[in-house]
């Protein structure tokens, strides 16, 4: 039984080779495309569960391909890029990618991102989770209750909404803009300092050591990620 069908889009044949070998070894079914155009062609035919998309390709390129995929599908897309700059990461997420991984990467990191992306793909993001539970942290989203190491902790409405949004997108980086617009409203987006204040408050409430958070991780210059 396959863990999922992954479309690997990269112009470098060696990278496609190593990805295929590795992903097949982890029970994924792998199909390959050499360019963005090829990927868009085989997408409706193959119906993969996830796309691994190289950012720098000849032809229409990764970002354009991602936008084209998004216009007709909400299949998870992870962008792979050799550039490590904030601008490129934000551009990838803005193009509709679920996540990005910087080349070169360790395979465990990539597999973790793939698992996170696949896990949430069937769930509808509208409803979000009803509960979250780990040994130290329990959240009941319906009754708006949070228990940290057994003790109930009070959250303000904005803090709770922030936490709900991050947990609903667990494992995925959420940009400052996305968080601000979904929690504060569409007029917001350029006020990352709001987030800094609120995230610090939430961390003080749920993290054992707020300076070394385990749940709400900072994605430098990009946003935050809830490690579920």
């Amino acid at each position: 039984m396959s863990a999922g069908k992954i479309l690997v889009v990269d112009d470098d044949p060696q990278i496609r080779r190593v990805m295929k070998a590795t992903l097949v070894g982890h029970n994924y079914e792998v199909i390959e495309a050499r360019t963005g155009e090829d990927a868009l062609q085989c997408l409706p035919r193959e119906m993969p569960n996830l796309v691994l998309l190289d950012m720098n390709m000849p032809g229409i390129g990764g970002l354009e391909t991602c936008r084209a995929i998004r216009s007709g599908s909400d299949i998870p897309v992870i962008i792979l890029t050799v550039r490590n700059s904030e601008k490129d990461k934000v551009a990838a997420l803005d193009a509709g990618a679920d996540d990005y991984v910087t080349k070169p990467f360790g395979i465990e990191e990539l597999l973790a991102r793939i698992r996170a992306a696949l896990r949430r793909s069937p769930a509808s993001p509208e409803g979000g989770p009803h509960t979250f539970a780990s040994p130290e942290l329990e959240i009941d989203f319906d009754s708006r209750r949070v228990r940290v190491r057994g003790n109930e902790v009070r959250f303000t409405p904005k803090e709770f909404e922030l936490l709900r949004y991050l947990v609903a997108h667990a494992g995925k980086p959420v940009t400052h803009r996305e968080l601000l617009q979904s929690v504060w409203g569409p007029d917001y987006g350029d006020e990352p300092e709001y987030l800094r204040v609120f995230i610090n408050q939430i961390r003080k409430k749920i993290e054992t050591n707020p300076a070394r958070p385990m749940y709400i991780l900072t994605e430098p210059w990009v946003g935050y990620r809830f490690a579920g």
Binding site: Q14, A21, T22, N84, I107, A211, R212
Partner: protein
């Protein structure tokens, strides 16, 4: 030649006297005025000495043949004494005036000639070329233009003497180097030699020696100024074109390295993905060997990134996207990337409330902080604390990273920011490329900030950098 002119002058006066005495009967005034005219003509034509001799002969002859009593040199009427004296004074004065006018005309003519020669020299030196080529051609041009027999030029920046030919050996190299130190033109008429320092704005460029027929002192000064300006122009052009060539080559290098680094990352991606995949199911020796491959792939990746960063800095192509950014943000960004290296250490961060934001590119600045923290972790005992601080000092945001390492020796404290420099004690360590702090320095300086280290042996080091505080009220 001179004697001939004197004889001719005397003959002219004698013939006038003879004509009036023998052929024409005129009064004495006419004779005197005719003589005066002749003397004026002589002085204008030949000069003062000839005219003076002619005046004396005229006075004597006029007295002898025309003033009563004739055929004696005695003068009876005192009025004639006055007339005779007036005649002599008028003749000599007029001669002097006429001679002066003649001399002026000659001087003007020679000035005009020197100006023409200078102009010809200026035109001849309008060619381009290096400063050395300028000097080499100048010694020939100046000889040709001014009709000197030889010229020599000591070009001080190259410590070199250029000569127009073997005749210029009359002035030694030593004389020339000495002349460069003297303040003004010096002319030695007996040796027919002139030497002059060549300077521009007080800066010595060398000296010039001219041998043979010499132009005037002022013209020599003009020549020297002209050559100084021409050399300076040639040097400025040389410097500018060298700097431009150097910059172009840095830009090209940066572009090449950029694409090379990109090309290196592609195979590295395959290697790293493959090796980390193998690592998952490995054990024992194999695991150790695969770990080495994995670590070395990371090292190559870092190296490629650092080479590109260094090349960009050196080409002046560091592309900063500056904005208002809080110190707390870039410090925490740096820390979040170093979690592994800082395991088991107490890391304190002290950023005062109300610290204004810095005007900086947050990613690059985080890279500097990361470099500092990484250094602190690498060169201090495991488990020793690291303290990071930010403060406002003189309108600048200053970041400091303090470690409890062995400290840095004084003579290494500035060199530590040089490319490829490694401290004496750490020379044989393999980790790192030796470019980290040089890149940090390049980044900080591109922001208009300063980077420095304070250190005390046995107490540890504090690495600092400053950034301009951000304005605009953003954030």
């Amino acid at each position: 030649m001179k004697a001939l002119r004197f004889t001719a002058a005397v003959l002219v006066i004698a013939s006038i006297l003879a004509v009036y005495r023998v052929l024409l009967e005129v009064n004495n005034t006419t004779v005197a005025l005719t003589l005066l005219l002749a003397i004026l003509g002589i002085s204008a034509r030949w000069g003062l000495a000839e005219a003076t001799l002619a005046s004396l002969v005229a006075v004597l002859g006029f007295n002898y043949y025309f003033l009563p009593p004739v055929h004696t040199f005695t003068v009876q009427d005192p009025q004639n004494w006055v007339a005779l004296l007036a005649f002599l004074v008028t003749a000599v004065t007029a001669s002097q005036l006429s001679e002066r006018a003649r001399r002026r005309a000659a001087e003007a003519e020679s000035r005009r000639l020197e100006m023409e020669r200078l102009y010809a020299l200026v035109q001849a030196m309008m060619f381009g070329g290096t400063a050395r080529k300028t000097v080499r051609e100048f010694v020939h041009l100046v000889v040709r233009a001014f009709g000197a027999s030889a010229a020599a030029f000591y070009y001080r920046p190259a410590e070199e003497v250029f000569r127009s030919g073997p005749e210029s050996q009359a002035v030694s190299d030593h004389d020339l180097t000495a002349a460069a130190e003297i303040d003004d033109v010096s002319i030695d008429p007996s040796r027919r030699l002139a030497t002059a320092p060549v300077r521009l704005g007080g800066r010595p460029l060398g000296s010039l020696a001219l041998i043979g027929p010499l132009p005037s002192e002022n013209t020599i000064r003009a020549i020297v100024n002209l050559v100084a300006i021409t050399i300076e122009k040639a040097r400025a052009l040389e410097d500018a074109s060298q700097a431009e060539a150097a910059r172009q080559s840095e830009v090209l290098k940066a572009a090449l390295l950029d694409s090379l680094a990109h090309d290196i990352k592609t195979p590295l991606t395959s290697i790293k993905a493959a090796v980390t995949s193998l690592l998952g199911g490995s054990a024992g020796d194999q695991r150790e060997l695969l770990t080495i491959i994995n670590e070395e792939a990371d090292r190559l990746n870092t190296l490629a990134a650092e080479v590109v960063a260094m090349a960009r800095i050196e080409a002046g192509k560091l592309h900063l996207e500056r904005r208002s950014v809080s110190a707390a943000d870039f410090i925490s960004a740096a820390l979040s990337e170093l979690a592994g290296e800082l395991k088991g250490r107490a890391v304190s961060v002290d950023v005062p409330d109300g610290l204004p934001p810095a005007d900086a590119d947050p990613e690059f600045v985080a890279q500097v902080v990361k470099q500092f923290i990484d250094n602190a972790a690498r060169y201090s005992p495991p488990g020793s604390p690291i303290a990071i601080s930010a403060e406002l000092n003189g309108g600048k945001i200053e970041i400091g990273v303090r470690d409890r390492g062995p400290g840095i020796e004084e003579n290494e404290r500035t060199r530590i920011f040089d490319k490829f420099f490694r401290g004496r004690r750490h020379r044989f360590e393999t980790r790192g490329t030796g470019m980290g702090l040089a890149i940090a320095k390049g980044i900080v300086e591109a922001h208009g900030g300063r980077i420095w280290v304070e250190s005390e042996r046995g107490q540890g080091s504090v690495f600092h950098f400053s950034l301009p505080a951000g304005g605009g009220g953003e954030t």
